[in-house]
């Protein structure tokens, strides 16, 4: 009985040691992974800041103004003036061209709440 207890204890110690060894390796692997990820995050952040700077540089007012002038024929962009404010009722309702519409192909039945057309 006693020796059985000894054997069990020894086995338990060996088992625990094995488990601790594994955990240790797993922890180290996780730490390495976080470090790698953090390096990647750092690189991504610096890339992002460069891209942001580039975006801001491409969107600088001087360049946008020049582009708006160059492409005036296509875009017709003008500096905003007080006269450009309008009311909703000044916007014409979109005219639907009945001939240009595609035929209804996949119609869905809807309830008309008992009312017949």
């Amino acid at each position: 009985m006693r020796s059985f207890l000894y054997i069990m204890t020894t086995l338990a110690v060996i088992g625990l040691a094995f488990w601790a060894y594994h955990e240790n390796y797993k922890t180290q692997e996780a730490i390495e992974r976080t470090e790698r990820l953090q390096r990647e995050i750092g690189a991504a952040r610096s890339r992002l800041s460069v891209l942001k700077a580039e975006w801001a540089y491409l969107n600088r007012p001087d360049r946008l103004r020049d582009l708006a002038e160059l492409n005036f024929d296509r875009l017709g962009l003008l500096p905003l003036r007080p006269a450009h404010f309008g009311n909703v009722d000044q916007v014409s309702f979109p005219v639907i061209d009945p001939d240009g519409l595609d035929p209804i192909t996949n119609s869905v039945p809807v309830s008309s709440q008992g009312e017949e057309p």
Binding site: T34, L80, P82
Partner: protein, 595 residues
């Protein structure tokens, strides 16, 4: 264990035969056994003590080694527990109120040389001279062949330049990583942003420090690692700032002015939405400070904040507002304007002769110096001083610009009654356009003191009450009449739909050695819009404007600063989201007059 009997039979029997006491044998045996036990116990105790000693020694050894190791090793961040936010640039970005970048960081490289590691120093010097035409090749050759160990060649390199230097293939030319500041919008808001330089420099990094403007004022905040790179949000709006600069530049050219400045400020929060000063510069390539006595010729000079000028008749509204606030007059009270008004050997004159007497409203609308001086006489020096102090004309503005700390208004050394009279129409007291903007904001927001700021605020910042709501409202009605009345000095400033109110001011420029120029003026227009519910104050100042209009040379603000301001309002108000609207028909001033 074999136990030795205490009374061994053989010896007992033997002793009995000899007539000895057998108990002596037992005692002897007990003694021997005790001695034996004692020896064993001692050995065991000694062993235990030794073991304990060894264990203590080992434990202390481990602790000592660990402490020594900790003390001697480089500190290291905990590897597993950092969050990604700590990996940020050393200096925070600056963004406008809508989050658009005004200043950010770029990673670049610096170039330095180790001449002692060079293989072909002369060829390297020549090729460097081809890449950087501004380098002195002869000097470089001399230094590369000297016994120096280290020298800087370039602080910042573009990627193309770096590749070109790399292609020289000289092992003695080395690159160090370096962060630099980038202002992607170029000269837009240059005077606000200021500029940057390098502080302590090393091969692996260099400190980026602000050298002017908000970069210097908020230097510590921008570099504070505890903020984790959160950008500094300014109250400026990039679109509005740029539009303001463009319109102001056009106006400056048309009016043949030497310089110009404008400030657009929210009247409730004191937030500056646009602050322009011309001529300007590119903060990416900040010019050197001007040498000589007059800093104002340098493009670095911020006319809106640093320029301390006599602001002329724009001050008149303060005298009128205070007189109404004190209950001395109301807008309809008649004021004697017979001139010239003599005070000692000094004479106060009007631009034109406006007759014998005018109502307070008309004094402002026609900009009568004599009328305002009369109002100031009624107010008195002490009360005028206290009022102007509350409006902020006695101290530097609290705006977050390094330059503002030095822009102290110039006050008369002795505040006599004559000073009181001249200051009431803006002569004898010099202040920056920013001071004027803050004071006009006070009139416009119903009488609360305003602290101008360049940092984004969360809403209205109500300061101390300086002016009663009634006086502020009546003053606004007067300012509106200056623009809307056909006889008003700013009739060119009426922008349809925005109910502009304002006051012109034309002040002769002082000569550096005393006295005033006859043909050089500073023209200022301080405006408020929309005047029935003021939201913004716009100050436009032109330095030495001149224009031929209606058959003669014009310098007064009504012909120069006012049209520029009107164009700015027309351009900026829609960008600010203000719809043109028909102003309420009944003017506040008219109602008050009838009461």
């Amino acid at each position: 264990m074999i136990r030795t009997p205490l009374r061994p039979l053989a010896r007992i029997l033997d002793a009995r035969q000899k007539g000895e006491n057998p108990d002596a044998i037992e005692r002897e045996n007990i003694r021997l056994r005790h001695e034996d036990m004692r020896d064993k116990l001692r050995v065991r105790a000694e062993q235990r003590l030794l073991l304990l000693g060894i264990m203590y020694f080992c434990a202390f050894l481990v602790i000592g080694a660990r402490m020594g190791g900790l003390a001697a090793s480089e500190p290291e961040e905990p590897r597993g527990a950092t969050d990604g936010a700590s990996i940020v640039a050393q200096r925070a970005d600056i963004v406008d109120r809508k989050g658009r970048i005004l200043a950010t960081n770029m990673e670049t490289h610096s170039l330095y040389a180790h001449p002692h590691q060079m293989i072909e120093p002369l060829r390297a010097a020549e090729e460097l001279g081809e890449i950087f035409p501004d380098l002195d090749v002869a000097d470089l050759k001399k230094r590369f062949t000297s016994d120096r160990k280290f020298m800087w060649i370039r602080k910042k390199l573009s990627p193309e330049q770096k590749q070109a230097v790399h292609d020289i293939g000289e092992p003695g030319l080395l690159f160090g990583p370096r962060e630099m500041r980038l202002y992607p919008n170029g000269a837009v808001a240059a005077h606000v942003l200021g500029g940057y330089g390098f502080g302590r420099e090393g091969v692996h990094s260099a400190e980026v420090i602000g050298t002017a403007g908000i970069e210097k004022f908020e230097d510590e905040l921008l570099r504070d690692p505890a903020r984790e790179g959160a950008p500094l949000e300014l109250s400026l709006d990039l679109t509005i700032q740029d539009a303001a600069e463009k319109v102001l530049y056009g106006g400056m050219k048309i009016m043949n002015a030497k310089g110009a400045a404008s400030i657009l400020m929210d009247v409730h929060s004191g937030e500056i939405l646009a602050l322009a000063s011309l001529p300007d510069f590119d903060p990416n390539d900040r010019p050197l400070p001007a040498l000589g006595d007059d800093p104002s010729i340098s493009p670095l000079f911020n006319r809106a904040v640093q320029g301390v000028y006599e602001l002329g008749s724009t001050f008149k509204i303060f005298a009128a507002a205070q007189a109404m606030d004190l209950g001395i007059v109301n807008p309809g009270t008649m004021v004697d304007i017979r001139g010239p008004l003599r005070w000692g050997k000094h004479r106060i004159r009007d631009f034109h002769n406006y007759g014998r007497e005018l109502s307070v409203t008309k004094v402002i609308v026609k900009s009568s110096n004599i009328g305002t001086a009369r109002l100031a006489q009624m107010i008195g020096a002490a009360r005028q001083k206290a009022f102007l102090e509350k409006l902020g004309f006695f101290d530097v503005t609290a705006v977050e610009l390094q330059e503002a700390k030095a822009a102290r208004p110039l006050l008369p050394p002795n505040w006599s009654e004559l000073s009181t009279m001249t200051i009431s129409y803006g002569h004898g007291l010099s202040a920056s356009p920013l001071h004027l903007a803050a004071a006009y904001a006070t009139v416009a927001n119903g009488g609360f003191a305003v602290t101008p700021t360049l940092l984004r605020q969360s809403g209205a910042q109500k300061g101390e009450r300086v002016l009663s709501a009634r006086a502020a409202k009546a003053s606004l009605a007067m300012l509106r009449l200056v623009v809307s009345h056909p006889e008003g000095t700013a009739s060119f400033g009426d922008v349809k739909g925005y109910a502009v109110g304002g006051k012109t001011g034309t002040a002769d420029k002082p000569k550096p050695r005393g006295g005033y120029y006859d043909d050089k003026v500073i023209a200022t227009f301080a405006s408020v819009f929309p005047s029935h519910d003021p939201k913004y104050v716009l100050i436009v100042t032109l330095d030495e404007p001149e224009i031929h209009a209606a058959g003669q040379l014009r310098r007064t603000a009504g012909w120069t600063a006012v049209p520029v301001a009107a164009e700015m309002i027309e351009r900026l108000a829609p960008l600010l989201g203000l719809r043109p609207e028909i102003e309420p028909a009944e003017l506040a001033g008219i109602r008050l007059t009838s009461q």
